[in-house]
């Protein structure tokens, strides 16, 4: 006779849109299988309508997130890193059954992802000093250029990485005050949904990160053409699809992040973080 704990408590993984974990409005789901081909779970198969809802949630969250102080954003992102570290074993398990890595490799990936998140956390209150400038103009003005978030960023998580790659493209998008719609890796969607649970537990404001799972080729074109998406990171789009998305994004002059395939374990650099920031120049007259 089997123990009760041998029988899994199964659930269908849901999308994270705004403050809700919810099914796709289309009602569709898909099967997620592990590296060994075994069944892991069902997850929601996001539709274009879900993508639009996610953009609306990200837009709603944008004023408060971009308007909060860099210090405050740093505090909240730190809490995410802390909970991620607390759940080290759970994420290592997720990574391991998704990609089939050894336990040591899976733990190393979770540690690296936590470390990456923490590295970006420290950037919130330094971006303006590194990216901004005081401009010595010829007239009597105090003239400052400051980096500002572009707005809503669609982030296509890399397909080949279960956790570290996703964190490495998501964190640089939101540290500077953007809000994001994350499209999870098609093969490895469960760690993204695990991360969404961490965001909720960390009280990251609803809508700052929205998570869609399903087929990139179905969801991403909606995001690339959407009027209210200001930037898109194409890390998770294969070449031909990335071309189509870049062309669609040009229709609304989105800031397009399309960098060479990265070694996610390497030091990330600043290009990705700066790519979704605008520069605002403010002129204040000086007069006695």
């Amino acid at each position: 006779m089997s123990e009760l704990s041998d029988v899994a408590v199964r659930t269908t993984y849901r999308l994270r849109i705004g403050d809700a974990f919810r099914r796709s409005e289309s009602g569709r789901t898909f099967e997620v299988r592990g590296a060994d081909g075994g069944f892991l779970a069902r997850a929601a198969l996001a539709s274009g309508r879900d993508a639009r809802d996610a953009v609306a949630a990200a837009r709603t969250a944008f004023p408060a997130w971009s308007g909060s102080s860099a210090y405050q954003r740093g505090q909240l992102l730190y809490r995410v890193a802390a909970i991620l570290a607390d759940h080290r074993a759970r994420f290592a398990h997720e990574v391991r059954r998704a990609v089939g890595a050894s336990a040591a490799a899976a733990y190393a990936e979770v540690d690296a992802a936590t470390d990456r998140w923490l590295w970006y956390t420290g950037w919130t209150d330094k971006i303006a000093q590194v990216r901004g400038s005081a401009n010595p103009v010829a007239g009597h003005y105090l003239n400052l250029s400051v980096p500002e978030p572009a707005g809503v960023v669609a982030v296509l998580a890399p397909q080949d990485s279960a956790l570290l790659g996703m964190v490495s493209v998501l964190a640089p998008a939101i540290v500077g005050g953007n809000t994001a719609v994350l499209v999870a890796s098609e093969r490895y969607p469960l760690p993204a949904l695990g991360l969404a649970e961490v965001f909720a537990a960390a009280d990251l404001p609803a809508g700052v990160v929205n998570v869609l799972t399903g087929e990139v080729a179905e969801v991403a074109p909606w995001l690339a053409a959407h009027q209210d998406v200001n930037a898109i990171d194409l890390a998770g789009a294969p070449g031909a699809l990335a071309d189509d998305l870049a062309v669609a994004a040009a229709g609304t002059l989105k800031r397009v992040v399309r960098l060479a395939d990265a070694d996610w374990t390497a030091e990330p650099g600043l290009e990705r973080m700066f790519a979704t920031l605008e520069t605002k120049t403010v002129w204040h007259p000086l007069a006695p």
């Binding site: 010829a138 250029s145 002129w283």
Partner: protein
């Protein structure tokens, strides 16, 4: 009370116009297969014949630029490039009067603006960037950032010499070579600049000027031999170029304008605001993307502001652009005049209230009276369209938060003016407005050290300052200093 001024025209004899101009390729001028006429928009007088650049001309220009890039310019020490740019800056200053008259003749912009603002700023852009040419390793893009290569630059008719300087100065400072395509409406200062390049002994092919219409512009923008494209002009063409560059992977800078907003709070210095709004819209004939043509005023100050704007509009002198007393010059072309006329008609049809001061328009040339629309709502076409003409719209808001929301209601986000005497409100508005340039209690200030460029669909990239260098450097992997 109205003062009449005696005519005080700037001497046209400062310029010696040639009958016809060739293309400037590889350091020398050469004619082409066909020509077009460039006219004065103030009189419709033909000023000169200019060569229409064809596909083979663009090919030759790209080849000349490539050879200059590989053999000379990219290999030259930054210090030497710096000296060339300093020399160009000095030559622009020496020929300032001539260049100002040329831009005024060709584009209809009042001489007070070209001589007092555009030409000195153009020289300042070269002077500023000359200093960067040998300091690029300190600009924050890695220890030894590389140029991109051969750059195609297509500019519009708004402040042609200044926009040329915005494009060419940083490109050359960073070690790139360029093919510049000026607007067919205003090619003359670009051709005079080509002569300046020769006077400066700039190596042949570093700067090439290919004149022509939008077709020539397309040939330049789409040329496979380029490493970078920069375009100033309409949103429609800009997006087309953006799609092409999305496929080719070429870096792109876009400046597409849109409309700028002026937010006037009830406590503002209303006279100062009205003065800057009128100067910002009408003195430039609204012909700059950052013309603050959309005025949002806090309801209690609405009547005072409209009265102050009216009074100042009534005092504007419209006419001969070469006269130093002229405030409002000619509209740059018939096509632009038609566009403005249509937009005005649609504003009236939508029920907005139109007002212009009594104003005699010259018999010849392209003219449009200074025009104000009040009772404009955001759903009106003119409430959010790019006006690009001597007109402004006025509507009211109740709270600063509403002003921010309304200002963000267009797809553009180039520039905004904020008028209030309360420092905290000014700073709050400046931080919340979604635009690339904000002037508080000022408007339309420009400087080579101050990055300029828009959010959203106003464009891509920044021009000027340390930030502007990024558009002309290969920064891949180089951001970690």
């Amino acid at each position: 009370m109205r003062f009449e001024y005696a005519a005080a025209p700037e001497a046209r004899s400062l310029v010696a116009l040639r009958d016809s101009y060739g293309l400037f390729i590889g350091g020398s001028f050469a004619g082409g297969a066909s020509v077009f006429k460039t006219i004065s928009p103030a009189t419709e007088e033909v000023l000169a014949e200019v060569t229409h650049g064809a596909a083979e001309d663009v090919d030759r220009a790209v080849l000349a630029a490539r050879q200059a890039y590989e053999r000379v310019w990219s290999a030259m020490p930054g210090r030497a490039r710096s000296r060339y740019l300093f020399t160009i800056a000095r030559l622009i200053q020496e020929r300032a009067g001539e260049l100002a008259v040329l831009d005024t003749l060709d584009g209809g912009r009042p001489i007070r603006q070209t001589r007092g603002v555009d030409v000195p700023l153009a020289a300042a852009h070269f002077f500023y960037h000359a200093g960067w040419a040998d300091k690029l390793g300190y600009a924050g893009f890695g220890p030894s950032p590389r140029p991109l290569g051969v750059v195609g630059q297509i500019i519009s008719w708004s402040s042609p010499l200044l926009m040329l300087a915005w494009q060419i100065a940083p490109a050359l400072a960073c070690g790139n070579t360029v093919i510049l395509k000026p607007s067919e409406a205003t090619p003359l200062t670009a051709l005079a600049f080509a002569e300046i390049c020769r006077q400066a002994d700039l190596p042949p092919g570093v700067v090439n000027v290919v004149t022509g219409d939008g077709g020539t512009g397309q040939l330049v923008a789409g040329h496979p031999g380029l490493d970078k494209v920069s375009f100033t002009g309409s949103a429609e063409v800009g997006k087309e170029i953006a799609r092409a560059c999305a496929l080719s992977g070429k870096p792109l800078t876009l400046k597409l304008g849109g409309t700028a907003v002026n937010i006037v709070c009830a406590d503002a210095d209303i006279e100062a605001a009205a003065g800057a709004i009128v100067a910002g819209v009408f003195v430039d004939q609204g012909h700059v993307g950052s013309a603050g043509s959309r005025v949002l005023v806090e309801a209690p100050a609405r009547d005072a502001l409209v009265a102050a704007i009216r009074r100042r509009m009534g005092a504007l002198t419209l006419g001969e652009p070469l006269d130093v007393n002229t405030d409002v010059g000619a509209v740059v072309s018939r096509a632009q005049l038609d566009k403005i006329t249509d937009l005005t008609a649609s504003g009236e049809a939508e029920g907005a209230w139109r007002w212009s001061p009594p104003c005699l328009l010259p018999d010849h040339g392209f003219w449009f009276p200074p025009t104000m629309f009040t009772d404009v709502s955001d759903s009106h076409g003119i409430g959010s369209a790019e006006l690009a003409g001597p007109m402004l719209t006025v509507s009211t808001f109740a709270t600063p938060a509403e002003a921010v929301e309304r200002a963000g209601g267009t797809r553009y986000g180039l520039a905004a003016g904020v008028w209030t005497e309360r420092g905290s409100v000014a700073a709050w508005l400046a931080s919340r407005l979604r635009a690339g340039v904000i002037w508080t209690n000022a408007f339309n200030r420009f400087d080579p050290a101050a990055p300029f460029g828009g959010y959203r669909e106003a464009g891509l990239g920044r021009e000027g300052g340390r930030h502007g260098l990024e558009a002309y450097l290969d920064i891949a992997g180089g951001l970690d200093v």
